[in-house]
Amino acid sequence: MKVLIGTPVHNKKDRAIKKWLRNVVKLTYPADILLVDSSPDLSYVDKIKGYCKKYKVKNCRIEHLEINQELGVDERTNRSREIIRQEVLSKDYDAWFSWECDRPIPADTLSKLIKMMKKEKYSIIHQIFGVLRVPIEFKISFDCTLVNRECLEKYGFLLEYPGMPDCWHPVGSWFKKQVVDDGGSYVEVYGTIGPIRDKGARKMKVLVGAAIHQVKDYGMERWLKNVSKLEYPADLLMVDNTSNPDYFKKVRKYCNKYAIRNYKLVHLSLDPDLHPDRKVEMSQEIIRQEILTHDYDAWFSWECDQLIPTDALDRLVSMMNSGGFMMVNHNGWVRDNPGITCTDFNVSLVSRKCFEKYSFLLQLSFDHSEIPKKWECGEIWIKKQVLKGGGSILEAEGVIDPIYHLSK
């Protein structure tokens, strides 16, 4: 893959640039470099040339963009990105590695991102450093991001494009939305990308585990029909936390109708007044125990009101293998408001390793102050623990398509 590292620079970031150039020469993947300087005059270009010579940076070109400094940093940066985009498109590069000049990264980051992009054909891969951003938003800062050529052929970086949102990083948000809406895919990598599992490796043993309740009966039959058509072989465990015991029987009838045999249906009798989140967590804990005691490699968390393509689990397994991730979380949208991205475990694959260390029962956490007071708090908490423990997470959008989140 022919990659261009394209980075807008400015003399305001001079303190970072030397360190960054030393980081550039250590990269394990060979790539050309284009720096676009939008400083007030040409003097900074000469300074960078001096740094490049000093640190033996090869294949590096520097262009100067003469621009009114009063237009602000967004305008400067995005006009510089347009020059980079032009270079990528006209010189037949396969991808642009957008790497901000104040962002130190491990030397093998680019090569790992490229391997992932090649294997899974993602449109954009964004490596996140630092805190977990929950919920995932239509926001992207391009600080360490690999963008394939196809996206750049269709979309640019000018602030004046129609439909530009009024927010931080508006162009990033706009760009990402265009790509996903147009059938492309966007993934965020949290933590370090692990080794790629080879094709000859043993097939992953997966349990489809779902907490169910009769309030979702409107979607249950359609969901089970969907389960019966899943291509990847997997067992099914449903934990019914309905207080009405008759519902248990109704679900069995659905399973018979769609010839589902390899399933377990457990009824969990709980206090009816218990908060729904607690009921779900207790149900998920039963699933966790099943995974740990029956040698499953992973849990396919699939909410019983979401309809997905029949190859969805194959895609998730492949994504997990592509970077040794502990968790692959595919985002959908909130049931009542399709404009809001939903980041809970609605369509997710969670590896066994995660469950060996962390539980869904929040009262088991040693430090209660860390439990976030938000929707799906147990799931956010688990994600945080995974990252704290050195694991990695992949958050994806647009890879599995379509996903229908049923509301009636």
Partner: protein, 206 residues
């Protein structure tokens, strides 16, 4: 077998300084025979001119159009305004799967069969672009080959843009147009420039 209708966008930067020709031009647009969508990018100061153009469109029963406004510092000059407006047109073509851009300046009056003829010319040699010459507005005996009447295929638009700050921009009139053509050739593409095939073309001065 009937030929597949190409999805074309007429995309034109407009400005209030060309109001002298706007109504006549929109009448000409309304008479075009080949079906096409229509995007105007107004780079006049403020939004007043947008309303005036909408009235003209109403008068000539033009309904399938979009009118975007680009708020831009007027002191940057016409080339900068036009280049940035063309980038918005380009974005529309690429993101909405158009096959080609019909670049038609808002001071040129063309015959109704023009677009059909340009498509025919472009297809005749599988060219990336057909540019039809007219003459300079102020000096009618001096030929001009900017994108006043041109059909540009999607393929070069995927690769090249219209910003004046791109590296190696020539220092001349219509620099963006010249640079774009150069890139097409550098990239192994092709285009044709023709004269006298579409007539009459009126390049309005007043």
């Amino acid at each position: 077998m009937s030929k597949k209708i190409k999805k074309i966008l007429i995309g034109t930067p407009i400005h209030q300084v060309k109001d002298y020709s706007m109504e006549r031009w929109l009448k000409s647009v309304s008479e075009l025979e080949y079906p096409a969508d229509f995007l105007m990018v107004d780079n006049s100061p403020g939004y007043d001119y947008v309303e005036k153009v909408k009235d003209y469109c109403r008068k000539y029963n033009i309904t399938n159009y979009k009118l975007e406004h680009l708020e831009i510092n007027q002191e940057l000059g016409a080339d900068q305004r036009i280049g940035r407006s063309r980038e918005i047109v380009r974005q529309e073509i690429l993101s909405k799967d158009y096959d080609a851009w019909f670049s038609w300046e808002c001071d040129q009056i063309l015959p109704p069969h023009t677009l059909g003829k340009l498509i025919e010319l472009k297809d005749s040699g599988n060219f990336m672009m057909v540019s039809h010459n007219s003459w300079t507005r102020e000096i009618p005996n001096q030929p001009m080959n900017a994108f006043g009447c041109a059909l540009i295929g999607r393929e070069p638009l995927e690769k090249y843009g219209f910003l004046l700050e791109y590296p190696d921009m020539p220092d001349c009139w219509h620099a963006g147009d010249v640079w774009f053509k150069k890139q097409i050739l550098k990239g192994g593409g092709n285009y044709i420039e023709v004269s006298g095939i579409i007539k009459p073309i009126y390049h309005l001065e007043e």
